[in-house]
């Protein structure tokens, strides 16, 4: 097992590579997920707060 | 057969984008062509020999990089124990290289290298940096050994750098 972590003496280079990839990809994925959740929550809030303004909002959105 | 104004606009925008892309592509190709000697990272030994007197390259006066394969059996340590001497070859041409310092892990005979330095008056290449260049073949050790045994080896010692 320890020889697995040693990576033939190249442990630093191999594990740093996998670590950097995990950090960057994980960071982007989590950030995007949180942002998507926040955006949809805010949208629901506004829709509930102003149901009679939906038509105007739809027109403004061009949908 | 008249296009609606909206479709005519779309078609015009498409035309503009295509023409702009074509002009840009040609411009970039011309720039890269003009810079071809600058973009090149290293010269092979036979290229150095044939362009030694090229006034544009001034290979005799300036620092440049030479790349090729380390000739089999050419590597030796000089008396000072720190300087390595070997020959870089690309088939038709070869240069003797002297380098003082640590060599990269991949440096070995038959392997590709790129050395940076200048030519001395004896036609030797005095390098102050040696980088290993590896080829695009990836395989386990057992496969490489088997290929060598059966004579199907097409690895780094035959390939061009």
């Amino acid at each position: 097992m320890s020889s697995f972590f040693a990576m033939g003496g190249y442990a630093f280079y191999v594990w740093s590579s996998y670590g950097a990839a995990l950090l960057i990809l994980g960071g982007i994925a989590i950030f995007s997920m949180v942002r998507a959740r926040q955006a949809s929550r805010r949208l629901e809030e506004l829709k509930r707060a102003a149901p009679h303004r939906r038509r105007r909002e739809e027109a403004a959105n061009g949908a | 057969m008249a296009l609606s104004p909206a479709r005519a606009r779309k078609r015009r925008r498409l035309g503009v984008v295509i023409i702009a892309a074509a002009i840009l592509g040609i411009a970039v190709a011309l720039v890269l062509f003009a810079l071809r000697d600058t973009v090149v990272f290293f010269f092979g030994p036979s290229e150095v020999i044939s362009r030694l007197d090229d006034p544009k390259l001034r290979l005799q006066e300036r620092r440049f990089r030479m790349g090729g394969l380390v000739e089999e059996g050419s590597v030796r340590r000089l008396e000072d124990g720190k300087t390595t001497e070997f020959r870089i070859t690309d088939g038709p041409g070869a240069f003797t290289v002297r380098y003082t310092g640590l060599l990269p892990d991949l440096f070995r005979e038959g392997q590709g290298v790129v050395a940076e330095g200048r030519l001395d008056d004896k036609g030797r290449f005095i390098a102050d940096e040696v980088l290993a260049k590896h080829d695009e073949n990836y395989m386990p050790k057992e496969v490489a050994d088997a290929l060598k045994k059966t004579g199907h080896w097409q690895g780094e010692s035959e390939a061009k750098p």
Binding site: M33, A63 | V28, P104, F107, E136, K141
Partner: protein, 245 residues
């Protein structure tokens, strides 16, 4: 094409695709990592450092793939004024920048032990660094312009102009002498890589593609939601102004 232009229809389509792409991303990356780290051999020349390849090469492919998606979406937004194309282009940029950063970092971590240097200014490395700056420049430009229509157009033009860099990256190793080795997988005459090493490479590459789909759809979703949030907030502000007047 305009059938998908309707944001509501896009949201429905995204909620069908997302669970699948999430599961495929996780499955492919877990099995890819298993083969990359445990069940594949060391290289005859490079030893264990060859395992860096299973991150480096797919990340570099994705860096170019993401940019191609961004450029295609920019063209669609510029020519056909497709409302979702601009959203897609803007959503793709940070993902592509992330993959480019990974390719550059792992490349340095691979270059130091094998080549003997973290970095050289050869054509391949330099053109990938330019790609990274194109992503950053695109994101900065789009965020810096307040007028949405102007931001869309400026960003799309930058993305399209920068696309010339993609063939330069791909063919730099063939056109010029570089320290970087030529292509191993996508080349004439088939891959020069042992099947036991090709498997983790392909698994990781597929995993990265589905990761791209998942994150892209999520980012497009929040972008569309935020556009509606802004429209609603404006409407509310307008209403209260009218009430006050």
């Amino acid at each position: 094409m305009h059938r998908f232009a309707n944001p509501a229809r896009f949201q429905r389509l995204a909620s069908i695709i997302l669970p699948w792409s999430d599961v495929l991303t996780a499955g492919l990356l877990v099995s890819g990592l298993y083969f990359a780290l445990f069940a594949s051999p060391a290289d005859y020349q490079q030893g264990e450092t060859v395992r860096i390849m299973y991150i480096h090469v797919p990340a570099a492919w994705m860096a170019m793939f993401s940019y191609s998606v961004m450029a295609a979406a920019s063209a669609a937004s510029l020519i056909w004024k497709h409302p979702l194309a601009d959203v897609a282009a803007r959503a793709a940029a940070p993902i592509g920048a992330g993959f480019t950063a990974i390719a550059l970092i792992t490349g340095m971590l691979w270059g130091e032990p094998m080549w003997g240097t973290w970095w050289v200014w050869d054509a391949r490395l330099t053109s990938v660094l330019i790609l990274f700056f194109l992503y950053l420049g695109y994101m900065a430009l789009v965020n810096a312009i307040d007028n949405p229509a102007a931001a869309v157009r400026a960003g799309a033009i930058l993305a399209l102009v920068g696309f010339v860099n993609i063939p330069i990256i791909k063919f730099s190793v063939d056109w010029w002498n570089t320290l970087h080795q030529p292509a191993s997988v996508i080349k004439m005459g088939g891959p020069s890589i042992a099947p036991s090493m090709l498997l983790p490479l392909v698994l990781m590459a597929l995993g990265f593609h589905f990761y791209f789909v998942s994150v892209l759809l999520r980012r497009m979703r929040s972008e569309l939601d935020l556009a509606r949030v802004r429209a609603l907030e404006d409407a509310i502000a307008l209403n209260s102004e009218e009430a006050a007047a």
